[in-house]
Each structure stands twice: as structure tokens, then as C-alpha cells.
Symmetry: C2
Amino acid sequence: MSKFLIDKYASLEAYTPGEQPRDMQYVKLNTNESPYPASPGVVAGISAEEVARLNLYPDPECKLLKEKLAAHYGVGYENIFVSNGSDEILSFAFMAFCSEQTGAVFPNISYGFYKVYGDLYGVDYTQAKLREDFTIDVNDYIGVNKTVVIANPNAPTGLSLSVEDIGRICASNPDNVVLIDEAYIDFGGKSCVGLVGKYDNLLVVRTYSKSRSMAGARLGFAIASKEIIGDLNRIKYSTNPYNINRLTLIAGAAAIDDNDYYADCCKKVAATREYAKSRLTDLGFTYLDSVANFIFARSDKIDGGEYYRKLKQNGVLVRHFSDPLISDFVRITVGTREQMDILFEKTEKILSEV
Amino acid sequence: MSKFLIDKYASLEAYTPGEQPRDMQYVKLNTNESPYPASPGVVAGISAEEVARLNLYPDPECKLLKEKLAAHYGVGYENIFVSNGSDEILSFAFMAFCSEQTGAVFPNISYGFYKVYGDLYGVDYTQAKLREDFTIDVNDYIGVNKTVVIANPNAPTGLSLSVEDIGRICASNPDNVVLIDEAYIDFGGKSCVGLVGKYDNLLVVRTYSKSRSMAGARLGFAIASKEIIGDLNRIKYSTNPYNINRLTLIAGAAAIDDNDYYADCCKKVAATREYAKSRLTDLGFTYLDSVANFIFARSDKIDGGEYYRKLKQNGVLVRHFSDPLISDFVRITVGTREQMDILFEKTEKILSEV
């Protein structure tokens, strides 16, 4: 920290992304990436000609991409916002819609970044406790008169809320934004995008990083009332108007045209997830019944941190969180069948040694 | 604006980027892009294999790119910060180092975004008047006890400060950050990067958008003391840790290896700029003696706004600012010799009609 940093950020605890080690090749099941490559249309779209044209600024309005997304999701052009990864949308939303006065509420176990944004922007937030079974108690979000932030499915649990429950939360908080982070929705949850026309306070946040195999391109989008989208644009045009680069804009539009490819990838991931659950059961693990592309699992035979470390020694990366509420668990990204079989082979070895 | 937007942003005036019209093909001299394409190494680096790998997150530490930049500029790895365009660095710096208490000072005629950041983050800023000849009066920045922000060369004037003057400003404000925005330095100014080891309050901001033909890739970097870089990282890891996508990281590193190509492009731009100045003189224009890749010019025969509009009707885009202090002028990006000849041909036609 320099002596120049203004006081309010002195105690800020930043987010820690999942490790990206470069010391060796791992079976990488720690950051919920898709195990499948970008689609043929994306690869073809980023041609040598387009790369040569990088001397020109991208379209700050992102018109083509937003038109494709609006048509695909059946909403208006003015209901779409796009950004440099969905984290940027979350950051903008906490900035625009939360404050010490407005406040915010989100689950005590969820995407760790919500707390970081709350601290960064000086938000008066509360963290509602999950139930014993790690499900969200919807009543904690009914009529709270605060900005509501919920990941659906939640992370790292993989458990989801129904569209009806999200509708109830929106209806009971008409003066506050309800942000539903659907990063993992395409692997088995039910999207609430259909509610956007009904509730002007609903802000649905999506990402290309998981179901569209594009974590490396940095592309997120939001669907909401045109007024909420207008506010996000106001923040964008006051911070970084050219927030999405030319090649990512091309990739994002091409991926919509290749929707069948990505839908097939999601089906494969969901099938592998169910296979992995059965293998975990065989190995004596318990886990939450995830509808996402990861499984939150624990074993009575080995501590979560120890299991994580031994897997890493064996060339397999999963994610472990030190929060005592969930430190028994590891979060395992669903990879290919082959990757999961390596995980289980190494797990058998590790369990045989404890 | 939605009813949910928190009060402090209700009156925010966002930045207006230069227009990117899609209705026809223009000779585009309005956003200070390089007229030359990305280098061969950049084009080769973004291969189909790399695009297919977009399913994986980028390295949030941006290690390879920072190593290349550190070696190229002769500074330490920990003296480098990289970001999604230099606007993002400016945004982070205003956030981290300016406040209502700290304050900031920048020229009244400069990059229009400084004022937007000041408003966004509630900074108590003052705008120091340029002299009559549009030069910066260094005395306005000596011992001000505020965060200093200066574009060098300044925009849209193209006029530059000496390294000695910047050193004096740094030395006289030891408790405040001095941010020098060197977006346009490679076309003829003298960089103050060599002062970073001497002044722990100096923050030099650079971009790939101009001299490295990569406005479309969104890549900026900063060089400063490791403490200041640490603060910028703290903001990055609290907002958007994966702020640079995989392909831009590849392009940024490849461009350093292709330094000769870009140095040659800069030389060509500088030569075309001097040619353009002589043509402007012939046409009866006056202009500031720019060392950047643009020329700020005016004519007694035609109002700046009218000249801009007539050029646009004739298929040539330049930038006009409505601020009455500079509304006589247009800012003309230096393109290729061929593009400039079209500009002058159209200008002759326009002047013959007024």
C-alpha cells in the first residue's frame, strides 16, 4: 500500500481468484471453466483480417452483439447490457444500486465477490444465513427493502431457486433492485429472464465464461428493464466506454449463431455431472445436488483442505475455501468424462492412504 | 435513469467517445487511431489454436506481458500494471488517489474524461487554465498538495512538457500522486518513465491504442513505484481480476517483440504530421505545434463546427469539441499520407464554397 491511497480502501480485502499455476500441467477442475473449446464459428470469426484491424477501436455500443442477444433471449435491444466479464456488471450494479443508505443482502455462502464489492463501495450489507442443508431461505429476501443479490444456482453449492420464488422476491421489493446472477443457469436451472418484462426491478446477470466456453474472452451480459440498463450504461460511459475489445465482440456474436454447439456442450457437462455424483457416492462422499457445472462434495474420511492439497500433489486442481462453514468441502468443476475419471482414480489412491 | 440509481450518480455526465458511424465508409481521422494494422507477430500470435482455448480463463496476473513490458522499459516487474485500456487505469487512479479530501488538479483543456472521473468519484478537483497559447503553465502544478493529472503531450493540443518540468512537479508534491498520461508520447514527446525510480509519487500511464495499433484490443499499462502499482492491483482485484482477455494478453506480448515495426509506424505518422502541417499552412489554417498523432487546427475562413460537418458530408471524419474555449478548432488525427491528401482535397473544395 502506498501512502497516497485514500483511507477508505486501506482495509480492503480483494477477491482471490482460483489459482492458475504455471509450474506444471494439471487436470484443472478449480475455476468452473468449460472443458470444451470455443465453437467453430468463433474460431473462424477471429480471422487474421480481423486481428490486423485491431488498430481500430471497437464499437462502444456493441450493437451487433446486443442485437444477437436480444433476439436470442426474446427481449428488446434496450434490455441488454454487455461487459468485460460478468464481474464488471456486478461491480457496476453494486456501485449504481447499493450504498450505505440503500443496503444490500446476499447469502452468507455464495460467490465471494459480493462481499468484496460491498466493502469496496461502502455498502451496508447483510449476509443471510443459508439453511442447514445449504438451501436459500426465500423468506430472508421478502420485503427487505434492500438491494437483493442472489446467485442462481448458488455457488459453490450448485442449488437453485424456482422462478416463482424469484418472482416473489421481486414483487416484495418494488423499490429495490433484485440482482439474479445466472452464471451457472444453463447446466440445469430455470432462468428467470422471462420475468424481466413483469418486474422493472429485476436484473439478470449472465456470462459467456461457463456454458459458452469463453472465460478467456471476458464477456458478460445483463437483461433488465431499459431504465436499469440505462443506469449500467451511465456507469460504463463514465468509467470505460470501450470496455469490450473487437475480437470478443466478434466471438460473442458468433457464439449465438453456434447455439446448438454450446447447448450440446451443456448437455454433456450435465451428463458427466450425474455420472460424477454416482462415482462420488460409491467413494463414500456426500454432496449437494448441484444443477451447475460443479459439485460441492465432502468425505468423512478426509478433511477438505487435505483432500485439496493431496489432489494437487497428484496433478488435479479443485477449489477449497477456508471459510469454516464450508471448509469440509471441495468444489469440483465438472470436466470431461476423462478428466473426472482421473480425479476419481487419484481420489481412490488418496483415500487408500489416509 | 431508473428510480433505483443511488442519488450521487443522478447528475453524472458520462464521457462521449468519438463517433463510430456505421452508415457509410469514412476517412476516419476522429479518434486518434493508428492508420497501420497490427504487426505480423500479433496476427500470427492469435492463432486458431489460441482462439479455441478461449474456454480457459486468462492469467489474472498477466505475467508474460508484464515481464515483456518491464524488460522493454527497463523497470522492475513490480513497477508494471496492465489493464483493459488506459481508461481503466485512469478510472482506478482517480478512485484510489483522489477524493473530496485529497482533491485533484488538471488542465481546463485536456482529455475530457478526467472531469468525468472527478465527478464520478466525488473528487474536489480544479481545472487549471492553459495559457493563451494553449501551453500548460507548470507553476499551476507546483506544490499544490493535490493529485496532479496531466496528459503529456496534452490532448487535444498535442503540446508537451519537458521531463525537467515533470520532475519539478513531482518533487514539489511529495504527498500526492502525479499522474502523467503518456497516451501520445511515442510520436515525438519525451517520456518521463526514467523518473519513476526517482519519484515514488509518479504514475506514468501508457496505452497500446495509438503507437501500437491496438485500440481494438483494449490494452493499457502503467509504470510507477511498486507501492502505487500495489494500490492499482488492489482496486483491480476488488473489481475485475480477469480484466484482460487471453487474446489481448497474447497480442500485447507479441507487440513488444515487434517493436521495430511499431517504431517505424510512429516515424511514418510523425513524417505525415509534418507534411500535414505544411499543407494546413498553405490552406491558411493555423495550428498548434503538435508532437502527437493529431493536429489541432483552425481557419479564419470557416467555423470549427461547420468545417467538421462539411468534412463529414464529404466522407471525412474529424473531431470537433463544443466547449467554447476550443470550438474554433477541429482535431485531425494523422492518418496515412493518402488519407491526409483526401482531407486536404475535400478541405480545398469546402473552402472554395464558403
